[in-house]
C-alpha cells in the first residue's frame, strides 16, 4: 500500500518538476531572444538610423526603410480594417449559425495560418504582373502591392477578433434596440459596434503587430529601394526586408544596423501586443 503511495507521490513530484522546467525553458528562450536583440540593438543604436538612407550601406541608416514600412503598414491597415470589421460583423450578426458562415469562418482560419510567402506569390500574380502590363512597366513592384500582401496577412486577424467580440455583446442589447424599432444596420453600427469597440480596436492593433514584422510577402511585391520613396506606386523599402538583406551580408557594420532595425520592430510589435492586452484584458480572445 505504502509502496504504491510512494510511487504515486514520486510520479507527482516528477510531473511538477518537469512542468516547472517546461515553463523555465519557455521563459529562457523569450529572455534569451529579447536580451540578444536588446543588447545588439542598443549598442548599434545611432541617430544616423533615422536620418540616412540605405543607399550609403555601412555609412547609411534605415530612414527610407522605416518610412517605407510605416507607409505600407498604414495602407495595409486601411485596406484590411474596414473589410475585416464588416466581414467579421457579417459572421457574427447575419451568419452565426448558417453553413455559409461556418465555411467562411473555417476558410478565414486557414487564411490566418496560410504561409505568408504563398500570399506574397498570389499578390505578385494579381497586382504586380497586371500593373506592369497595364502601365507599360512604369508601375511594377510597388509599395501598394506590398500593402495588399500585408493586408491579406492582417485581414483574417481582424475578421476573427471582430466576430468573437461581436458575439460577446449580450443578446439583450440587440433585443432592446430592435424592440425600439431601430433598423438592423443602425443597431449594428451604433449599438453593437460601440459596445464591441475596444475589442475591434484590439483586433486591428493585433493585425498591425502581425503584419509589421512580415518579410516574406514583401520580397516580390514591394521589391526594395535604396533611396527614399514615399509614393505608394514606387518600389519601396521596408524594415524587415532591409534587415533580411543586411543579415545575409557578411559585413559586421551591416549586421549592427540590422540589429538596430530588429530592435525597432521588436519594440513596436511588443508595445502593440502589450497595449492590446491593456485595452482588452477582460476577456481573452484566442488568435491562434
Amino acid at each position: 500500500m505504502s509502496a504504491i503511495y510512494t510511487r504515486r507521490h514520486i510520479k507527482n513530484i516528477a510531473a511538477k518538476v518537469l512542468a516547472t522546467a517546461a515553463i523555465i525553458i519557455g521563459l529562457v528562450f523569450l529572455v534569451w531572444i529579447l536580451w540578444i536583440t536588446l543588447v545588439n540593438g542598443i549598442s548599434a543604436f545611432n541617430w544616423r538610423l533615422f536620418t540616412k538612407i540605405t543607399a550609403y550601406g555601412p555609412d547609411g541608416g534605415l530612414s527610407n526603410a522605416i518610412v517605407g514600412s510605416l507607409i505600407m503598414d498604414l495602407i495595409a491597415i486601411a485596406i484590411c480594417a474596414p473589410i475585416g470589421v464588416l466581414a467579421g460583423t457579417y459572421l457574427a450578426e447575419c451568419a452565426s449559425s448558417s453553413k455559409f458562415g461556418a465555411t467562411v469562418r473555417f476558410l478565414n482560419d486557414i487564411l490566418l495560418s496560410a504561409p505568408s510567402i504563398v500570399l506574397g506569390l498570389f499578390v505578385y500574380v494579381i497586382v504586380v504582373i497586371p500593373s506592369t502590363s497595364l502601365s507599360g512597366g512604369a508601375v511594377s513592384f510597388s509599395g501598394f502591392a506590398g500593402s495588399v500582401a500585408l493586408a491579406l496577412i492582417g485581414l483574417p486577424v481582424i475578421v476573427r477578433t471582430t466576430d468573437e467580440m461581436m458575439q460577446l455583446v449580450p443578446t439583450t442589447l440587440r433585443e432592446a434596440a430592435l424592440s425600439l424599432g431601430i433598423p438592423q444596420w443602425k443597431m449594428t453600427l451604433q449599438v453593437l459596434m460601440r459596445a464591441a469597440m475596444s475589442g475591434i480596436i484590439t483586433g486591428i492593433l493585433l493585425a498591425l503587430a502581425r503584419l509589421a514584422g512580415e518579410t516574406a510577402p514583401l520580397l516580390f511585391t514591394a521589391f526594395g529601394n535604396n533611396y527614399m520613396s514615399v509614393h505608394p506606386l514606387d518600389k519601396m523599402a521596408s524594415l524587415p526586408v532591409a534587415i533580411y538583406q543586411y543579415t545575409n551580408d557578411p559585413n559586421p557594420t551591416l549586421h549592427a544596423i540590422a540589429w538596430a532595425g530588429a530592435l525597432l520592430i521588436t519594440l513596436f510589435v511588443l508595445a502593440l501586443s502589450l497595449l492590446t492586452r491593456l485595452l482588452f484584458s477582460r476577456k481573452k480572445v484566442s488568435y491562434d
Partner: protein, 339 residues
C-alpha cells in the same frame, strides 16, 4: 475584385507617371550580386552629382534576366551573357559594365588568405564531394610543407540563380571532364555536395561562420570581409594571386572586337599571368524601351561610371573596362538602341 483593382491601378498608374516625370528620375535595376558593391557605390555618387537615383537590388543574375524580361525593372545585370536568339526574341541588347575575379574562399584555422594553392582539378574534386578532408593528398601535393588540419571540408555554394555560379561552373567544366558530364554549367546547378547561401553575401557569411568550409565569391566580398582566399594554378601552369593585375591579364586576352553582343567568357584564359576565374558582368536593356527617359538615364549612368567610376571600381578590386571597349559599347548604343 479583380477588375476593380485593375482599373484602380490603371488610374493610379497614369497619375503617378505624371508625378514621376516632374522631379528627378528614379531608375531601377536588378540582378547580379557580383557587381552590387560597385554599382551601389557608383549609384550613391551619381545621385549626389545628378539627383537621379539608380535603385539597384542584388537579387542574382537569373533574377535580373527574369525581371528585365517581365519588364518590371529598367535594366538587368547578369554575369551570364544572353545568347543571340534570346536577345533577338525579346528585343534586348547587352553590354559589359565591369570585370572582376571570383576566388575560392575558405575558412580553415591556421591557414591565411592567399597562402593556400589550388588548381582547377582539385577545386572541382572538392566541389564534387570527392576530396572531403583538408589534409587530403591532392591538396597536400599542391601545398608542400603546409600544415593541413584533419578537418572535414564543407562546401558552400549559391542557393540562388547566379552568374557567379555560371562563371565558376563554366571554369570547372573547362578543367574537369567529370564535372562537365556529371554537373555541367549554369546559373544554378544540381550541386553534388554542400550547403547553399543566398547571394555572394550569403556564401561569404556562411564561409565566415563555418570552420572547414570552402565557397566561391567575388573577390571584393572576400577582401572586405576578411575571408581567406586561395591562389590558383592557371591554364599556363603558373600560380597567380587574385588582384587587379591578373584580372587585367585575363581581360587582355579577350577578343572583344569579334564578340557579337559582347558575348565572351574569359575564364581559364591562356595568359601567363591570367587569373583563371575572371568574369565579366553585363547590363541588359530593351532596345526599344517602353520608357525612353529611363533608358537614357541608365546609359548616362553607365557612361558616367566608365569615365568617373574607375577609381571606385579599382578600390573595390574590379577592373574598369579598357577604353577601346568603352568606345565599342558607345557605338553599340548608337547603332542598336532606337530611341
Amino acid at each position: 475584385m479583380f477588375k476593380s483593382m485593375k482599373s484602380r491601378i490603371a488610374v493610379a498608374a497614369a497619375a503617378s507617371m505624371i508625378c514621376m516625370t516632374a522631379g528627378a528620375t528614379d531608375i531601377t535595376g536588378a540582378g547580379s550580386s557580383f557587381v552590387y558593391p560597385v554599382i551601389s557605390k557608383w549609384s550613391a555618387k551619381f545621385a549626389e552629382k545628378t539627383g537621379n537615383h539608380v535603385n539597384y537590388q542584388s537579387i542574382g543574375s537569373g533574377g535580373g534576366i527574369a525581371q528585365i524580361k517581365a519588364g518590371t525593372v529598367d535594366f538587368g545585370a547578369s554575369d551570364k551573357p544572353l545568347d543571340e536568339a534570346t536577345l533577338d526574341k525579346f528585343g534586348l541588347g547587352q553590354f559589359p559594365d565591369v570585370i572582376g575575379g571570383i576566388v575560392p574562399a575558405f575558412n580553415v584555422p591556421g591557414i591565411d588568405a592567399g597562402k593556400l594553392v589550388l588548381d582547377g582539378k582539385t577545386l572541382s574534386d572538392i566541389f564534387m564531394g570527392k576530396v572531403t578532408m583538408w589534409n587530403a593528398a591532392e591538396i597536400a601535393k599542391l601545398n608542400p610543407g603546409m600544415k593541413l588540419p584533419a578537418q572535414k571540408i564543407t562546401v558552400v555554394h549559391r542557393s540562388d540563380g547566379s552568374g557567379t555560379t555560371y562563371n565558376f561552373t563554366h571554369y570547372l567544366s573547362q578543367v574537369s571532364p567529370t564535372w562537365k558530364s556529371k554537373v555541367g554549367e549554369g546559373t544554378a546547378v544540381n550541386w553534388p555536395a554542400g550547403i547553399g547561401g543566398k547571394g555572394n553575401e550569403g556564401v561569404s557569411a556562411y564561409v565566415k561562420q563555418i570552420k572547414g568550409s570552402i565557397g566561391y565569391v567575388e573577390y571584393a566580398y572576400a577582401l572586405q570581409n576578411h575571408i581567406g582566399y586561395a591562389i590558383m594554378k592557371n591554364a599556363a601552369g603558373k600560380v597567380v594571386k587574385p588582384e587587379t593585375k591578373t584580372f587585367q591579364a585575363a581581360a587582355a586576352t579577350a577578343d572583344w572586337k569579334h564578340a557579337k553582343n559582347f558575348k565572351l567568357l574569359i575564364t581559364n584564359a591562356p595568359g601567363a599571368n591570367a587569373w583563371p576565374i575572371t568574369a565579366t558582368s553585363w547590363v541588359i536593356m530593351y532596345k526599344q524601351p517602353k520608357n525612353v527617359e529611363h533608358t537614357k538615364v541608365t546609359m548616362d549612368f553607365f557612361k558616367w561610371a566608365y569615365e568617373h567610376g574607375q577609381d571606385d571600381a579599382r578600390s573595390l578590386d574590379y577592373v574598369p573596362l579598357p577604353a577601346s571597349l568603352v568606345k565599342q559599347i558607345e557605338t553599340y548604343w548608337k547603332t542598336e538602341y532606337k530611341m
